[in-house]
């Protein structure tokens, strides 16, 4: 069938700068550049270009510029170019349109409508370079009350404490499985988490045996609906066990790792035959109620001998606060909440772009509900989905999160350009592919340093912002919404967020 689609991107080659070195040709995994020996010239094939910018970054003479294609249909605010292209795509294929990364639609980003406070005159700000600043975060259930016994040596805690995991700063890497991302990317996350003293999350792809001893202490291992890679050693080598109920990018649906991505090693980790599709069902088929969830939580607590916090990850949807309350009462020590802008390696576009609610509103609602019910101490809340900078992180903590998961930001730090073609397995940056020719483009020694640098810079920025507020510990801003003000928000939004408007 002849395709009626317009090219998404235009490749501009400044011929006066092109030295025909063919680096662009070799770096493009979809064949967007070709050298023609008859013309002794480079040619571009725009119809395949996904705008990943690999060629533009690697061109040694800066001869390439890749930008959105200027060809347009007649301007129509209802029928955008994207909508028309999608219709044509579906007419040509009869399929569900797949995509990767997080929701890119212009839903309100509440972080951009919240501002943080600072000290002026009436209370002093703190210089974090001169004074200690505490970002240590403990994840897990806290006791209802703390009974201590004062004696000559000091004091002793008499209350029974639950297992908690300490992380050096309230930022961890979110669930990205080996299989969805390359081994190199997966290893880079683990290396960086260990170096910084935070967590990475295995997703539903198992934890390779050779990584367990070294990186298990920094791992959150997932138990998801496909139960891939799950056994008792897997749970016991980790710091936290997470039950994955849902994902912000695709609430209510499962996962599908195509057989082409199930290489020998991916298959071994997932304990499935090589080359077969790894299908994660939409629900966990043993969880149809809060009571069922409780059974799995306690089964996992039994398996880990009550030594590890159990987390439950859900997507932000309607009634999320009530669901969260049920999860806490089911015995979860941590709730991870993934908002509508959470990323994915593959999801139907219609689901990614239309299902779920913004994280900010869900987070505020959950924190308020758990406080109102007097059970906020019984769990930690990890927020996930679309954290772009340390400002977003601090705002989330002020809204009530204990820590945040970052996925997309970490991938971007490693090279990802959000071209949204993760599901094709042809990631030109070596992040989201199992092709050995492409995945070696990501050098874990370099990528892990970039991730560590990213977290260190966020750590500095968070300390600076806290210092400006006159706060010297992250605990003091947690759930402290008085340090937030809304700008350009309506009354109901301010009510849900529990913050005042700026100037109030």
């Amino acid at each position: 069938m002849y395709s009626y689609l317009l090219p998404e991107f235009a490749i501009e080659r400044k011929t006066e700068r092109c030295i025909k070195c063919r680096v662009c040709e070799r770096q493009c995994p979809v064949g967007g550049h070709k050298y023609d020996p008859d013309f002794d010239a480079m040619f571009s094939y725009e119809e395949v270009c996904v705008g990943c910018q690999r060629c533009a970054v690697f061109c040694p003479t800066g001869a390439l510029c890749v930008q959105p294609h200027s060809s347009q249909y007649r301007l129509n605010y209802s029928w955008s170019r994207e909508k028309l292209q999608d219709l044509k795509k579906q007419a040509e294929t009869g399929g569900v349109i797949l995509t990767g990364s997080g929701n890119d639609k212009p839903y309100k980003v509440y972080w951009d409508h919240l501002v943080l406070n600072a000290s002026q005159v009436t209370n002093p700000s703190i210089d974090p370079l001169r004074e200690p600043m505490e970002l240590k975060t403990f994840l897990g259930k806290k006791p209802d009350s703390l009974e201590i016994d004062l004696n000559k040596e000091g004091f002793e805690i008499k209350s029974e404490l639950n297992p908690n995991k300490m992380i050096e700063l309230p930022v961890a890497f979110s669930a990205m499985s080996y299989g969805a991302i390359s081994y190199q990317a997966f290893l880079s996350l683990a290396m960086a988490a260990k170096e910084i003293g935070t967590l990475f999350n295995t997703g539903e792809g198992g934890l390779p045996l050779e990584m367990r001893e070294k990186y298990g202490g920094n791992a959150v291992v997932q138990c998801a609906s496909g139960r891939f890679g799950v056994d008792s050693e897997y749970f016991n080598c980790a710091s936290i066990v997470e039950i994955k109920i849902g994902q912000g990018a695709k609430p209510g649906i499962g996962g599908h790792l195509p057989g082409e991505k199930v290489s020998f090693n991916v298959a071994r980790n997932r304990m499935i035959p090589e080359g077969t599709d790894a299908l994660s069902p939409a629900p966990q088929h043993d969880i149809y109620s809060i009571e069922d969830l409780s059974m799995l939580i306690y089964a996992l607590k039994e398996v880990t001998n009550y030594t590890k916090p159990i987390s439950v990850k859900i997507a932000a949807v309607n009634h999320v606060a009530a669901i969260a309350s049920g999860i806490v009462r089911a015995g979860a020590d941590i709730i991870a909440i993934d908002g509508i802008r959470g990323g994915t390696g593959s999801a139907p576009k219609i689901i990614r772009d239309n299902i779920g609610i913004p994280l900010e509103l869900a987070l505020a609602a959950i924190d308020k509900r758990l406080r109102d019910e007097g059970i906020r101490n019984k769990c930690s809340v990890i927020a996930a989905g679309g954290f772009r900078c340390s400002g977003d992180v601090l705002k989330a903590i002020a809204l009530g999160a204990d820590a945040v998961y970052i996925g997309t930001s970490a991938l971007v730090a490693m090279g990802c350009t959000l071209c949204q073609k993760c599901y094709t397995g042809k990631c030109s940056w070596g992040v989201c592919t199992q092709d050995p020719y492409l995945s070696k483009r990501l050098n874990p020694e370099i990528a892990s340093v970039k991730l560590v640098n990213l977290l260190r810079s966020w750590e500095h920025e968070i300390k600076e912002m806290l210092g400006g507020m006159g706060i010297n510990a992250i605990e003091s801003i947690r759930g402290n919404r008085d340090h937030l003000r809304g700008v350009g928000l309506e009354g109901w939004e301010l009510d849900v967020l529990g913050v005042k408007g700026a100037g109030e």
Partner: protein
């Protein structure tokens, strides 16, 4: 003397090492002039070997017992005892290609234009070989033995 270590597991086969080798051995050291202006263009002394998905960049290993030096009939190739480098003197080279035949690594490059050979000189005069400093993925590492390297 330093040595260039090769890491095939992270070599991405972009051939930028070859491009920058040409620039390093050009007259102008300017990438555009080296490729578009200089005639004849400089020759890359590093070659990316490929059998996909495996790729790696290979240049003269500066062997401790170099076969090319033993085979050289004109004395153009010699081992510099002070620096440890295997050095090629184009003035003496007669283009017999004996060195090309005996090098087990394929590290000697034929210079068709001048009917001579050329080879890696570890970028004498630069702090680091150009192929190493311009590798985008750390697939070439310069280990300076005097500074405690390999």
């Amino acid at each position: 003397m330093g040595k260039i270590l090769i890491k095939p597991e992270v070599c991405i086969g972009c051939h930028l090492c070859e491009i920058w080798c040409v620039v390093a051995h050009s007259r102008t050291k300017d990438i555009l002039k080296a490729f578009l202006l200089e005639k004849p263009a400089a020759i890359s002394r590093v070659i990316v070997e490929e059998r996909l998905p495996v790729t790696f960049a290979l240049q003269c290993r500066h062997c401790s017992e170099p076969d090319c030096v033993f085979a050289c009939i004109s004395g153009a190739l010699y081992k510099d005892s002070a620096s440890g480098r295997v050095i090629h003197d184009p003035e003496k080279c007669v283009g017999c290609y004996s060195c090309v035949l005996v090098c087990p690594y394929g590290g000697i490059i034929i210079d068709q234009e001048n009917k001579k050979v050329t080879k890696c000189d570890l970028c004498e005069g630069f702090e680091k070989p150009y192929c190493v400093s311009h590798c985008p993925n750390g697939a070439l590492v310069y280990a300076d033995q005097e500074k405690g390297g390999v």
